[in-house]
Amino acid sequence: MNNNTSYSLKFILLGVLLLLCILINLSLGSVDIPFKSIVQTLTGNISDKENWHYIILQYRLPKAITAILVGSGLSISGLLMQTLFRNPLAGPFVLGISSGASLGVATLVLGVSAFSGSLVGFAFSNIGLALAASIGAFFVLSAVMLVAKRVKNTMSILIIGLMFGSFTAAIISVLAYFSSADQLQQYVFWTFGSLGNLGWNEIAILSILYIISVSLLFTIIKPLNSLLLGENYAISLGVNLRKTRNITLLVTGLLTGVITAFSGPIAFIGLAVPHLTKLLIKTSNHKIVVPAVAIIGAIVMLVSDTIAQLPNSEYTLPINAVTSLFGAPIIIWLLVRKRKII
């Protein structure tokens, strides 16, 4: 209705903010590159120094695009889970789905020594990692879904998610105990989370899977809206609940799995961003919330990455540490607040 104009205004503002964050993200880093050269490079002109050109196109730009895909993907995942579980505390990390992806990767990286040599090459290929992480994510997500069917209580599902997290952590510890120092180091670095490890090829894979997931998501926007009334009302409105649930699982599993494989388990973005979005855009209509969540997720991830780089210093913080510093207080605030909005 008359809200439409205020929504488009908000989207324009968010778009401008996103653009600004991309530019800031590109211009800050361990090497000080003038803003003018950044713009020159991006618009296709040769900048003053060739190594600046290289840094921007082969390092900073891929990293910024990864941040956008990771931030928006995880946030969409979180939103879908919050609607599906009708639970404001649902999210890929809290429900243990990221842990599931970690288990997949750990099994591949740490457990691969037990298999024959031909598998080793596959294990360390990015496709192998993405596949393992997705399978792990699906596995835990299905398990949580099964339990959530019996347990309706918000807090119980949260605790069950944490238990799944501990359970996978325990399996990973056992795997780690039996693996070599090299493998262990590789795994541990992966868990720190990083947006900077992706080349253009990996970004292409990530983008394709991202586009597939989001296209699938658009087919269930309508049933997701009716699920806001609860399952029985949704069914009475003609929703095919099983199909909707399966597509939601597929989309969240795929997004979380692939993103986690490439960038490591990144905490709290999927949980915190949907809430942040619903504070800014006060609607539950998925037609509006999904794009808003995607943009805000991208912005938050770009900002987190900019902070993680500690501009003008040689050091880089693990991205996971930054997102946790930002996300954990939001969860505490949510629990303290009385009314919980899905």
Binding site: P88, I221, K222, N225, L229, G238, N285
Partner: protein, 264 residues
């Protein structure tokens, strides 16, 4: 007198209850009843007798145990969710989960069986919503969030949502529970008006005996052993209503159509 065509719902030897892996719990067996077009029917009975179970089974929210439910000449189980959504709308007892939905958005969701893949509202949809808002008299609250409403307002909104779904049958499970007297009467009068003016078939499970006796066209009285159905006046006259809640505590007063507490 009654042609079979006027039956919207007809059940044959219907058994309702709950089935788990190990055992089957029957709530009621051998239910044979019919629901006719355009009537207001109230289901009355004690707590736990199976009013809600019957309602849930007839609306396909819960599977039947055995027997047959025929809706418009077709077995209920052969009708898809999407098709059923255009024939029957529900007002349930369950609370809707918290969200940012406004009253208007909530009512608009009732148009989902008719909207396109993304749920865009056409002019016709907007018209249905406008009419339902007028019929339920909730113009003042349409831009409020649903969690800001009182129980009475929310119930009217849920009825508006059901109206927008444009179905022949509307079923309501205890629509006036938790409401004060004023709101109870208002809701019942609204439902009566909808069945009279729009020829909606309305099926209500309720504990509001005095309101039901005054407003319902027909009653379904659920006892431990069977379900008595018939016109309200007939069931009052042949003392079926009086027997339904018969105990040492109350007697039914035919004149005032009320149960009166016995005084020793």
């Amino acid at each position: 007198m009654k042609g079979t065509t006027s039956h919207i719902i007809k059940t044959t030897n219907l058994s309702i209850g709950y089935q788990s892996k190990k055992n089957t719990t029957y709530v009621a067996k051998d239910i044979n009843l019919t629901l006719d077009k355009g009537v207001l029917v109230c289901i009355l009975g004690k707590n736990g007798i199976g009013k809600s179970t019957l309602l849930r089974t007839l609306t396909n929210v819960q599977p039947k145990l055995s027997g047959e439910i025929i809706l418009n000449g077709k077995p209920l189980e052969t009708i898809s969710n999407a098709e059923l959504a255009k024939k029957m709308s529900l007002v349930l007892t369950e609370r809707i989960p918290e969200s940012n939905l406004t009253v208007y958005e909530l009512i608009a969701l009732g148009r989902q069986p008719y909207t396109n893949w993304i749920g865009a509202l056409t002019k016709e949809d907007l018209n249905f919503i406008e009419v339902a808002i007028q019929q339920t008299n909730i113009k003042d609250i349409v831009y409020k969030k649903h969690y800001e409403l009182s129980d009475g307002q929310l119930q009217k909104v849920m009825i508006a949502r059901a109206l927008v779904q444009n179905t022949e049958i509307i079923t309501l499970d205890e629509p006036t529970a938790h409401l004060d007297l004023h709101n109870k009467i208002e809701i019942f009068q609204l439902l009566k008006k909808l069945s009279q003016d729009l020829h909606k078939t309305i099926l209500i499970s309720t504990h509001e005996i005095h309101l039901a006796l005054q407003l319902a066209d027909e009653l379904w009285l659920m006892n431990d052993n069977d379900i008595l159905t018939g016109k309200t006046e007939e069931l009052i006259a042949n003392e079926s209503v009086a027997k339904l809640f018969s105990s040492d505590l109350v007697t039914f007063d035919l004149k005032s159509k009320q149960f009166i507490i016995n005084s020793d």
